[in-house]
Amino acid sequence: MKTESVLIRLEDICKTYHLGEIDVPVLKGVSLTIDTGEFVALMGSSGSGKSTLMNILGCLDRPSSGAYWFEGRNVVQLTVDERAYLRNAKMGFVFQSFNLLPRASALENVMMPLGYAATVVSDKEARLRATEMLERVGLAERLHHEPSQLSGGQQQRVAIARALINRPPVLFADEPTGNLDSRTSCEVLEMFRNLNQQDGITVILVTHDPDVARYADRLIRIADGVLVDGTSGSDNGEDWESFVKEETTCESFEP
């Protein structure tokens, strides 16, 4: 494994919340490495600290202690504005509840992150790029639809297009299928798969659902603020292949 292919490296990350006088340790020394081009599932039960870890990975939160290198850069030291810039340029986010702007067209939703980019993108180019992105997620026919006129799966695809508009090397998906039925879940997860394999985008998927986690090449389990074990890509490969056979039904594979 080459050093330059290391995208994310966490070293002994701790996060403690202070609720009044009580200290609640959520992460108790997490260390992990994620390489460029990996498809990682971050799995854990509710309250295991996976959301906190995800927030720290996504530069939305700062660890209480520990070091975090993103593309070889220690991001713990960055200021709030620098982290905002990093999120804008290097990270895409997909949320469980889509978080689209209501009463704004799909196109406007996808264009939105461009407005905060460091380099000013002209309106015309922004429109072009957003259209391109929406075409890629298969919504070429629905550019001017508002979220309320789209199905859940379509909304999530708009959210994916929005996450990809700045061409980030890494995509964070926080329970992306939590609000979707199994069929659309399947479509969305497949889309992640494609992005990972065809475009080489690193995908970090947070979920509590083992069926969803199975799409990933590698599984990172977290329980009580510490990593339980890491599942290598090759281990999951077989699962993936067996899943493909049952793709149409989207039935779960019992581990």
């Binding site: 927030n55 996504g58 939305l60 939160d61 709030v80 504005d81 905002a84 810039y85 999120r87 804008n88 340029a89 986010f93 949320f95 509840s97 978080n99 702007l101 209501p102 009463r103 704004a104 406007e108 939105m112 992150p113 407005g115 905060y116 980019a117 000013v120 309106d123 929005r162 996450a163 700045n166």
Partner: protein, 455 residues
């Protein structure tokens, strides 16, 4: 570029809920509309009030000849005859702050018509500009005498309502001849009623005639006789004076031979008792006084450091009343404006706070995709300012429309007030910034994680 995009984002955000945006901005619309309408109506009424006070003579300036002094004894105003009708013409031509100038020659005499007689409180010889100076150009009947009448010393006169009542018992006096000191004058016009002045003197008890007629035909010499009145013969005027052919008056002050040698003055044909001036406006009075002083000093060849040979009076009391009325009105309106705009601003702040709470998730999302807190601050601030400015613009249109309707329907005077419009725009932007800042600041302080999780 970035600002334009933010502006676009703000507009889109507002258009997502147009009804609420409209209702929010209503406070500013009504506030600004009321301010504009009131400013315009107020300005109109203020102008009307000022005009009516001005018609009482607030804009007038009186130039009196200086006083002679001998051995420490001053003889009172008018004891030296230094003002000429030409001075009046020069003032009219050379002083931009002076609207019009009328020379005044006074007489006091019995006026006789038929078997009735009356002593008017003032018999004034002047030009037709006198009516303009006193803002009295509207005649009840007939017409004013012309400059030609003045040049020819025609025996025509205008009379006030009191004279009509006393001599003609209310009958139309036009074309009738009345006699002033046995000189017969034809009445060509009747002045409109003006009533008593501030000191309680009847202003309608007046006879106006060309100053040449009064001076050369009636008095023969200035009414306020000079102390040193050793008369010099003047053939040109004595022929005009039918009543006292022997006596005459001085054209200009007697001067010693040494004075003549020192200061050769151009020939002055006659002097007048006073010059009566009107400034173009109340504010211009002090400028007018300066200009008059300058012109008269240069015309009278008064050296630097020497005292003026004339006195200038103005209606300070009335002018003060006038300006205090105007400023009172302005301050009152400003106060009302302030209150209504503050109320409107609080409305904006209220809705913006609701909007920030409602859009917490949106704010969280924007932060997650890379918006810095100042981007969020700017977005919400611009939303508030856009609301206020839109409200301001609608308010301006509404206010203008309202005052126009008031003018049309109620026939109230309206003064177009561009400064009110400018002030409204500035104030509505200011209100937007001030009352939009707190909600915007709250939005920018949100924690993206909390905001994304907000239900």
């Amino acid at each position: 570029m970035r600002i334009i995009r933010t502006l676009k984002t703000a507009l889109q955000a507002l258009m997502r809920n147009p009804m609420r945006a409209l209702l929010t901005t209503l406070g500013i619309v009504i506030g600004v509309g009321a301010v504009i309408a009131m400013m315009e109506i107020g300005k109109g009424s203020s102008a009307a009030i000022q005009k009516s006070i001005a018609s009482m003579g607030a804009n007038t300036i009186l130039v009196l000849p200086g006083t002679a002094a001998s051995g420490g004894v001053t003889f009172g105003s008018g004891t030296v005859m230094t003002l000429t009708p030409m001075d009046g013409e020069a003032l009219q031509n050379e002083c931009p702050s002076v609207r019009s100038v009328a020379p005044i020659v006074r007489a006091r005499s019995q006026v006789v018509y038929g078997n009735r007689n009356w002593v008017p409180s003032s018999i004034i010889g002047t030009t037709s500009d006198y009516l303009d100076v006193r803002e009295w150009t509207e005649l009840a009947e007939g017409e004013a005498f012309s400059d030609r009448d003045v040049l020819n010393a025609n025996k025509v006169c205008l009379i006030g309502q009191t004279i009509v009542r006393e001599l003609f018992e209310g009958a139309s006096p036009i074309g009738k001849e009345l006699r002033i000191k046995n000189v017969s004058f034809r009445v060509i016009g009747v002045l409109s009623e003006k009533g008593a002045n501030m000191m309680g003197m009847d202003q309608d008890d007046i006879v106006l005639a060309p100053w040449t007629s009064i001076k050369f035909r009636v008095t023969g010499s200035p009414v306020v006789t000079a102390v040193q009145s050793t008369a010099t013969e003047s053939s040109s005027t004595s022929t005009m004076n039918r009543l006292y052919p022997g006596s005459s008056f001085k054209f200009y002050p007697e001067r010693s031979a040494a004075q003549e040698a020192n200061q050769p003055l151009p020939i002055r044909f006659a002097n007048v008792d006073q010059l009566f001036l009107a400034a173009v406006s109340t504010e211009e009075i002090s400028n007018a006084i300066d200009q008059v002083t300058q012109v008269l000093r240069s015309r009278h060849r008064i050296r630097e450091g020497e005292p003026d040979d004339f006195n200038i009076r103005n209606m300070t009391e009335m002018t003060k009343t006038l300006s205090s009325t105007a400023s009172l009105m302005t301050n009152l309106l400003l106060f009302v404006a302030l209150i209504s705009l503050v109320v409107g601003g609080v409305g904006i702040m209220n809705i913006m706070l609701v909007s920030v709470t409602e859009r917490t998730r949106e704010i969280g999302l924007r932060m997650a995709v890379g918006a810095r807190s100042r981007d969020i601050l700017r977005q919400f601030l611009i939303e508030a300012v856009v609301l206020c400015v839109a409200g301001g613009v609608i308010g301006i249109l509404l206010g203008r429309g309202g005052s126009y309707i008031v003018q049309l329907v109620l026939k109230w005077p309206i003064g177009y007030s561009p400064e009110a419009i400018l002030a409204s725009v500035l104030v509505s932007v200011g209100v937007g910034v001030i009352f939009g800042y707190y909600p915007a600041w709250r939005a920018s302080r949100l924690d993206p994680i909390e905001a994304l999780r907000y239900e």
